[in-house]
Amino acid sequence: MILLSLQGKLKGYDPRTNLILADCVEREYSLDQGVEMIPLGLYMIKGDNVALVAELDEEKDSTIDYTEIKAEPLGEIHH
Amino acid sequence: MDDAANSGISEPLDLVKLSLGERVFIKLRGDRTVTGLLHAYDAHMNVVLSQVEETIHIVDVTEDGNPLPPRVEKRSLEMLFVRGDGVILISPTQQ
């Protein structure tokens, strides 16, 4: 399972948590250099890969300088 | 503990039912074990416990790959829900 932390506009969803995200940007976290933002465009994500859907607080997000943030990527979900 | 069979116990869940309100030991995936008072369970092995002590067995590995001696992390929690898909084993604790 790829460990994406995606950010995008939620276009649609269903009871199985299948999601449609527009203007997707992948945030790649790493220990050595800051967060890398990779634009991906329009994504349809199958529900069972989704762990968590969070609402982004836009202004708070703008205050964070992601080039400074250094962290391991999110851990894998071990079933 | 004498052997289980009692004419009233027809399926494994009945054994778990005997421990309602009693202290149980639960083995979980990810090298974790949990003990606590059992207050609820269902067919998926979802469980609600109180006065819980969680033990995590960790084996750290140094860069050059040789494992350090295993260590144990303990946590105590007052009320805990455990999702059934992580549960391996439930048994009454030996008092």
Binding site: K9, L10, K11, G12, Y13, D14, P15, N18, I20, A22, D23, L42, V53, E55 | M1, D2, D3, A4, A5, N6, S7, G8, I9, S10, E11, P12, L13, K17, L18, S19, L20, G21, E22, A43, Q95
Partner: protein, 838 residues
């Protein structure tokens, strides 16, 4: 409206004039982006209600459906069918307008006319929201039109189209998920091939072509030319056509019902179950009518077809039957191999399944599936009202007896829901429940055994584990309650497993009884009251038997009843038991308890008073003490109040008798040295005293001041005096502080003596002391004159020590005050006071 995610998830309004280019769309939450053009979405506007997924609306293609039940067509298919073409819209709402639009915008509405009824099956607010858009948007967004297959126009493409179009013709379940069961061979003119020779498809078809069975039925035209599978299907459809048009209610197609007709095809459980569901929810969904009302044409229960056949055609000869059978098998396997993609579930099938699941869940009695939430919020509400801040209904009562949501005005998750949606939801749920209630009366569960396998309501939701434990019937493994009746006068005590099992059986019985009590019939219905009362009584008897109180006194050590009350789980059950037991039985129970009091863990293994310095103890010892303390506390919290309740309803004679039992059966001072012992005796003595002081007015003649029955009084004072004399020499050892002092050795002794122990532990010690002082106080009150002086004499140094230590410099004022209060409890009873002591 902020839905499940707390932000507006509703999707773009469906613009009025929307050519293929798509105008600017505005999300209420997000700015429009060019994406919308490429991915024009079905409207999910706020005011536009939900499109209830009428059964069968799924991926049905455009025209070309040779379906019966024409009168339903308009409502189902709308007027402008447009010409028949290969553009089969798999999604219910084609994203772009189909080319042949005659003026009117061919929005989904006109084409499929789904009824705008909000989703009736949202179990909770979240399903309501999360399920709503999906119906409208996600499926709508599925690639709406299979791109005109450029190169690949081979049979696979048609195959894909074929089943979608022709499945109804096969007379099976009217949905994309067609388990292509073999066509009813009845309408299949067949000439059996020569037996024992493997045929290829062409040969089979060739045979079928030359077959010329003098068709008795008028309808089937017999053509001579070789026809491909498609023609066979078309022919099939025509044959199925006439019977339905003639008399839709006619039980079976007029063709002779040959034995090779697949049993259960027409009245398959699937169809009957669906008919059952439609009868349950006529107003909620149009039912299969959208697909030409297949179900009614095939009444459930194929069995009657056989018998009620009007004209009996000449029976085909047995070997002809065998040939038909063999041919039939080969054709079936052929068709099946071609149709292996067919068993994907269309969205309409998923909704059908959901409808079944939800019909299992809807229940008139909210307790069955929502017991914890219902009772928890009721308790919370009553507590809030008790504290005076209760304000108005906090459980959202949606529909009669159907508490859907939880949470007061502050946590009311329905706060955000519009009022009309609330009323709509509650009316639908009410209809759902009422339908279900009267439905339960008429159908038996057999009807539910449809294609989904045995769907019995009871455990439809819970998986039925298969593993069964072999039961060995060694004596100690038989259930506790039966065990005791047969075996000899003395046996081993119950094992922990047996005790736990017996307790669980008791709990189940108690829960049932409590539920029964809740469902008392209305006071007016006299005979119902009789039955109900008898039922409750029967349940009480079962509970009484399971308590094993009537077992002989020395059957085992501990007595079976005592081993039930020993674990905390048993103690917790005690008060709930007493509520249901008649007075006589509870007295028997109490006498047994008192007679076997010393067998109780909390008495036999009573923990020693808390030692000032816990470090003196080994870890195991400390853990054991903690456990025994917990058991004692729980005993005092659960069992003693029950005991007090029984004692309060006893007369003086009974109280005297009970004291006598205890004095006779156990060393009184050992029992009195334990907290449960002190509690029991204090209860007995104080009840006796209150009976003597202000005897209970005789209900018959309340004015005449009731005199204590002299005989009982005599019996009581004799028993009490004996009890006191046995106890006197040990009075000092009853106090936890003196026991601790004696037991402590080494540094601990100084700690206790110097009272330098931490204030918290000190106060705990004082609380324990208070219990014993209370006991000796009630002893003093009951004692005759000279006994009181003996009592004071026996306790002299204890009183002095306590008073002096209360004046000790490093004793906290709080603790000192507690000490004085304890001593005064005793002294005031005798008209003395601690201050008198200098």
């Amino acid at each position: 409206m902020s839905g499940f995610f707390g932000f507006d998830t509703s999707l773009p309004e469906r613009g009025g004039q929307r050519g293929p280019g798509g105008g600017q769309q505005h999300f209420s939450g997000f700015q429009a982006s060019n994406v919308d053009e490429t991915f024009a979405l079905g409207g999910a506007g706020e005011e536009e209600d939900l499109a209830v997924y009428t059964w069968g609306e799924g991926g049905m293609g455009g025209g070309g459906l040779l379906e019966g039940g024409d009168e339903l067509n308009d409502e189902t298919f709308g007027d402008d069918l447009g010409e028949i073409n290969n553009n089969f819209q798999f999604s219910s709402q084609p994203a772009t307008a189909p080319p042949t639009v005659k003026g009117k915008i061919a929005s989904t509405q006109s084409r499929y006319k789904p009824k705008p009824v909000s989703d009736p099956f949202a179990f909770s607010e979240d399903d309501f929201y999360s399920s709503r858009p999906s119906k409208k948007t996600t499926t709508a967004k599925a690639p709406s039109r299979p791109k005109p297959s450029t190169g690949q126009s081979g049979s696979v493409e048609n195959l894909w189209n074929k089943p979608a179009v022709s499945s109804p013709a096969w007379g099976t379940a009217p949905s994309a998920m067609t388990k292509l069961t073999p066509p009813p061979s009845a309408s299949f003119p067949s000439q059996p091939p020569a037996p024992g020779h493997i045929k290829s498809l062409e040969e089979i078809e060739a045979e079928m072509a030359q077959m010329a069975i003098p068709s008795t039925s008028t309808a089937a035209p017999t053509q001579q030319k070789v026809f491909s599978l498609e023609e066979i299907e078309k022919q099939m459809m025509e044959q199925i056509e006439p019977p339905r048009q003639a008399t839709p209610q006619q039980p079976a197609p007029p063709r002779e019902a040959t034995p090779t007709q697949v049993p259960g095809l027409a009245g398959s459980g699937y169809a009957s179950q669906q008919a059952l569901l439609d009868s349950m929810f006529p107003e909620l969904g149009k039912g299969p009518s959208a697909l030409g009302g297949l179900a009614p044409a095939f009444p459930p229960g194929p069995r009657q077809e056989g018998q009620s056949q009007p004209s009996q055609p000449p029976q085909p000869s047995p070997e002809e039957l065998a040939r038909m059978e063999e041919l039939h098998k080969r054709i079936t396997s052929k068709i099946q191999s071609m149709a292996k993609y067919n068993n994907l579930m269309g969205s309409s099938d998923k909704d059908f399944i959901t409808r079944i699941q939800l019909s299992q869940l809807a229940t008139a009695d909210p307790y069955t599936s929502d017991f914890y939430a219902q009772v928890f919020s009721a308790l919370k509400r009553s507590r809030m009202i008790a504290e005076g801040q209760g304000d108005g209904p906090t459980v959202v009562q949606v529909g009669a007896g159907m508490g859907l949501g939880v949470g007061g005005p502050v946590g009311n998750r329905f706060g955000k829901m519009g009022q009309n949606t609330m009323t709509k939801l509650s009316t639908q749920v009410k209809k759902l429940v009422e339908n279900r209630a009267q439905h339960q009366k008429i159908t038996n569960t057999a009807a539910l055994q449809g294609a989904l396998g045995r769907v019995t309501r009871g455990n439809a939701a819970a998986p039925r584990p298969v593993l069964a434990i072999p039961t060995s019937n060694k004596p100690e493994n038989r259930p506790a309650s039966q065990l005791n009746q047969q075996t000899g006068i003395h046996r081993a005590a119950l094992t922990k497993k047996q005790v736990m099992f017996a307790l669980e059986e008791l709990y189940d019985a108690i829960l049932e009884l409590e539920q029964m009590r809740r469902e008392a019939p209305p006071p007016t219905a006299m005979e119902e009251i009789e039955i109900w009362h008898a039922k409750c009584q029967a349940k009480v008897d079962i509970i009484w038997r399971r308590l094993m109180v009537m077992e002989p006194l020395d059957i085992s050590i501990p007595h079976p009843f005592i081993s039930l009350v020993n674990p905390i789980k048993g103690q917790k059950l005690f008060p709930r038991l007493l509520r249901h037991l008649p007075h006589t039985q509870s007295i028997t129970l109490l006498s047994l308890l008192i007679a076997t009091y010393t067998q109780l863990d909390v008495v036999f293994r009573a923990p020693p008073p808390p030692v000032a310095d816990a470090s003196l103890l080994t870890k195991a010892d400390r853990l054991d003490r903690v456990k025994r303390e917990a058991e004692t506390d729980s005993f005092l919290q659960f069992v003693i109040p029950g005991v007090d309740m029984i004692i309060n309803r006893c007369g003086l004679g009974l109280v005297a008798g009970m004291l006598a039992i205890s004095a006779q059966r156990s060393e009184v001072w050992r029992v009195a040295a334990t907290r449960p012992g002190v509690a029991l005796y204090t209860a007995l003595l104080s009840k006796a005293q209150s009976l003597i002081r202000s005897p209970t007015p005789d209900p018959m003649n309340p004015q005449q001041n009731q005199q204590v029955d002299p005989a009982e009084l005599e019996q009581w004072s004799k028993t009490f005096t004996y009890f006191l004399h046995v106890l006197l020499p040990h009075l000092n050892d009853l106090f936890p502080s003196s026991v601790a002092q004696k037991a402590a050795f080494g540094p601990g002794a100084y700690l206790i003596g110097g009272d330098a122990v931490s204030d918290r532990e000190g106060q705990e010690m004082e609380r324990r002391e208070a219990e014993v002082w209370g006991f000796v106080a009630v002893l003093a009150v009951n004692a005759a004159e000279e006994d009181q002086t003996n009592l004071v004499a026996a306790l002299r140094e204890k009183i002095l020590h306590t008073v002096q230590s209360s004046r000790h410099p490093n004793v906290s004022p709080a603790r000192a005050e507690m000490k004085l209060r304890n001593v005064n409890m005793f002294l005031n009873g005798l008209g003395l006071d601690a201050s008198m002591i200098e």
